[in-house]
Amino acid sequence: MNETLRIRGGLALPRAKPGLDRPILAAALPPVLVFPLVAHGNRPLLSHVKAGDTVRAGDWLAHGLRASASGRVRSVESRTVLHPRRARADCVVLDTLPSADLPPAPDASGTVRRAELESLLSAGIDGQGGAGFPAADKLSAVRSGGCRLLLINACECEPGVACDEALLQEDAPAVVAAIERLRQALQPDVTLIAIERDKPRAVPALHRSLAAMPQITLLPFEPVYPSGAEAPLLSRVLEHLGLPPVTRAERPTDRGLLCLNVATALALGQALDGTLATTRIVTVASDQASLSRNVRIVLGTPLGWLLERIGQPPSAATRLRIGGPLSGFMRTADPQTLDAPLGVTTHAIHLSASAPAPMPITRPCIRCAACAPVCPANLQPHLLHWHASANAPAELQRLGIDRCLECGCCDVVCPSAIPLTAQFRLGRAELGERARRDAEAERADALIRQRQERRQRETLRRRAALDEAPAPNIAVNAALARAKARARRGARPADRAAGQAADQTVDQVADRAPDTSPPESPTVDGPPGNSR
């Protein structure tokens, strides 16, 4: 299987992998660790700890969030975070204890497959691919139906990000061992490692380590951005395997297709062996290539502390890019930002002292459609742009905006320099908000319908009770008779007040019938005088 695959669309960007010529630098345990209480999808988390609590490495700080070192909780407070969609978040601030004790193993009881998986589910490991998808959610989804494909994603396609490649260069045997461990636990039909073929040391390292593992196949990919995104990669692999593509209605895990970033796979494999992953590798790049390093940090390490530690203290003018040049976001090096922690999703930091390149003037779209062939999601960005500008959400939905990966390929090729991805991000956010409001309205609608039906039922029951049981009161019977007679004659305006009085009496009688709730409104009964 030496055929090199290529994802649909994408761009062959110049290869720029910082810090690969030097070994991974292991940063020490910082005096303070910060854990943002934010889960995948920008969901807030509730803290399980409070100021003054002592925690051990591996203890839960919140649902799905483990402490990566032992220490004492200093506070739970709002802090600046490095998050693409929020500026601040509540964080657990931990004063670490100097005794760097090893994290305890999660409940890795041994050889029974089911128990192994359970231990993984409780390991609280988030994907290190950039999205931070909780690996446990994927695992539990494939656990029920059985795993058909285990796809390890070692395509690190974006320039400026090199943490996965650094890991493979240095530790391919450990990675392969972890994948093999996962494979034994999950028993997938096929196990593949997808990697871009332009990684000069990582690919041979993987080849060597895989020599004794015939069950794991290395799948070379053309170096095209964004091969590392799960959707286009999985789609191409499925095509290669002759399997039908994942449709819009299902998730890959529904079909037993498990796609894991290579560092996530390592963390999961180690968790099976009883070691909790508390670190990740971060590419710290700089304008001067010689200063760029890949650093292994403890999760929760504050950015400023790390930069001081590796000898690149930022000045106030330094501009920080969190993530790659296409998918990342910019921050300034102010003190609050430097206090922000590096989490499981932070794969790269770029420090830049120079002023940003001037943006070309944005011109109107001339519908040249240069954006369409590079779209890895097979969308028509120019049509999306047209309808997003016209604020036509239904059209955006029809054109598949929910599949947009926000990879930025269309931005790069647009001759009119239109910020397409930013527009699509906004359009998707609005669509999400709309869907939320629609669901809310739907729910309110259902409640109102239920209430009306309930009241209708009650009215019918009251009438039935009235017809069956003779009224206990002669005066009431007389009033009822008068009301019926009037109804036959046809109500006259002068009788209306009397008729209302009679109706009220009837309602009170009905109220006395067993298990009847009080009447809520007379409107259901129709206008007085002619309803009965």
Binding site: L11, P14, S235, R251, L383
Partner: protein, 366 residues
């Protein structure tokens, strides 16, 4: 809307030019038009060059005026070159002897009515040059059809005598005078069309038995049983457009879909006509006659008014080819590229809508 990431700019700068920006894009198209324009000037006289210079200048002035009126940055938009290109294309489509004020009016309509009324570049549903051309053709049939004597290369068409040209002032009588597409010299097409209509002429003498005083069709064309091959002159010119168009394709300025679909459909229709026994210019002659080549590579490919999806562009181009063939063989005009482009422009929103949604089972992994 949030702005772009500076990284995008860096990536744009770092990449070998995938596609030039709008300005260079339009300038590349104009560069590709240059050899054909010079050849046309050699074949049909210096009037061609005068028209092009005049058309481009008028277009730039009108565009600047319109931008100013609309309160847009004149410099930013004028430099995109789209107005100049529209003026150039329109000037190539009219006769070299067209009065200057008529060409000016055409450019005015192209820029103001077809472009800025709809919101300027990127928003015009119809190809501005073709709108200006259609208006001129309908308003001034006499001058738009008055062709100068092809004195330079008397190949296959007898030039109309000055006396005939003077008769151009005769009232326009229903059937439009035939020869309306300028540089590409309608002569062989007209001859072919007349020949095709030959059997019917005896029955209905009022149809096209008389090509009209404005036509430069040789009077004996209708008597010929067979159809002549396309004139060497227009074939030569078509070759120049083809070379320019292929260069644009190679540069990635235009995509192959539209030119291919236009020419292939046109040829296929001609082939069917030939097989079914009709008088025809032939599947190979068709692309090298009339305005087919210029239209396929330079006019139909105007990105703003063309379909924008790959599938849509094939449909759009095929529609142009089909309409061109229909007008050439059965319509009142000897050439149909301009109307084919305009009609298909009108169909573009529907084509884009039908072809824009992603395939149902495509990679939706999320």
């Amino acid at each position: 809307m949030t702005g772009q990431l500076p990284g995008i700019a860096a990536m744009r700068a770092g990449l070998p030019a995938l596609l030039p920006a709008t300005g260079p894009l339009m300038r590349a198209v104009m560069l590709a038009l240059l050899p054909g324009t010079l050849l046309a000037a050699w074949l049909f006289g210096i009037g061609v060059l005068v028209n092009v210079v005049f058309g481009v200048c008028t277009a730039l002035i009108v565009e600047a005026l319109a931008l100013r009126l609309r309160g847009r940055s004149v410099q930013d938009t004028l430099s995109d070159g789209s107005a100049a290109l529209a003026g150039w294309l329109l000037a190539l489509c009219v006769t070299p002897t067209l009065p200057a004020w008529q060409l000016m009016l055409g450019v005015l309509i192209a820029i103001l009515l077809a472009k800025h009324v709809f919101g300027g570049i990127g928003h015009n549903p119809f190809n501005p040059a073709m709108v200006g051309y259609a208006v001129l053709l309908i308003s001034f049939p006499q001058t738009m059809n008055a062709w100068p004597a092809h004195a330079a290369l008397p190949l296959n068409a007898a030039p109309p005598s000055p006396a005939v040209t003077l008769q151009a002032d005769a009232p326009f009588d229903g059937e439009p005078a035939a020869d309306w597409h300028a540089l590409t010299g309608q002569t062989p097409l007209e001859a072919w069309r007349t020949a095709r209509h030959q059997p019917r002429i005896d029955d209905a003498p009022l149809t096209v038995s008389d090509p009209g005083p404005l036509s430069n069709t040789p009077s004996n064309a209708s008597n010929e049983a067979t159809v002549r091959p396309p004139g060497e002159r227009q074939a030569l010119l078509a070759l120049a457009w083809l070379i320019g168009g292929l260069w644009l394709l190679r540069r990635g300025v235009i995509a192959w879909h539209i030119p291919f679909a236009v020419l292939a459909t046109l040829s296929a229709c001609e082939l069917v006509a030939q097989v079914s026994g009709a008088a025809t210019i032939g599947p190979l002659g068709a692309p090298f006659s009339g305005a087919a080549m210029l239209g396929a590579f330079f006019i139909a490919t105007d990105p703003v008014s063309a379909a924008a999806t790959a599938r849509g562009r094939l449909v759009y181009g095929a529609g142009i080819g089909l309409i061109t063939f229909a007008i050439r063989s059965a319509g009142g005009w000897p050439e149909g590229v301009a109307f084919g482009v305009l009609l298909m422009n009108g169909a573009v929103p529907m084509i884009d809508r039908l072809s824009g949604a992603p395939p149902r089972s495509a990679d939706a992994a999320k």
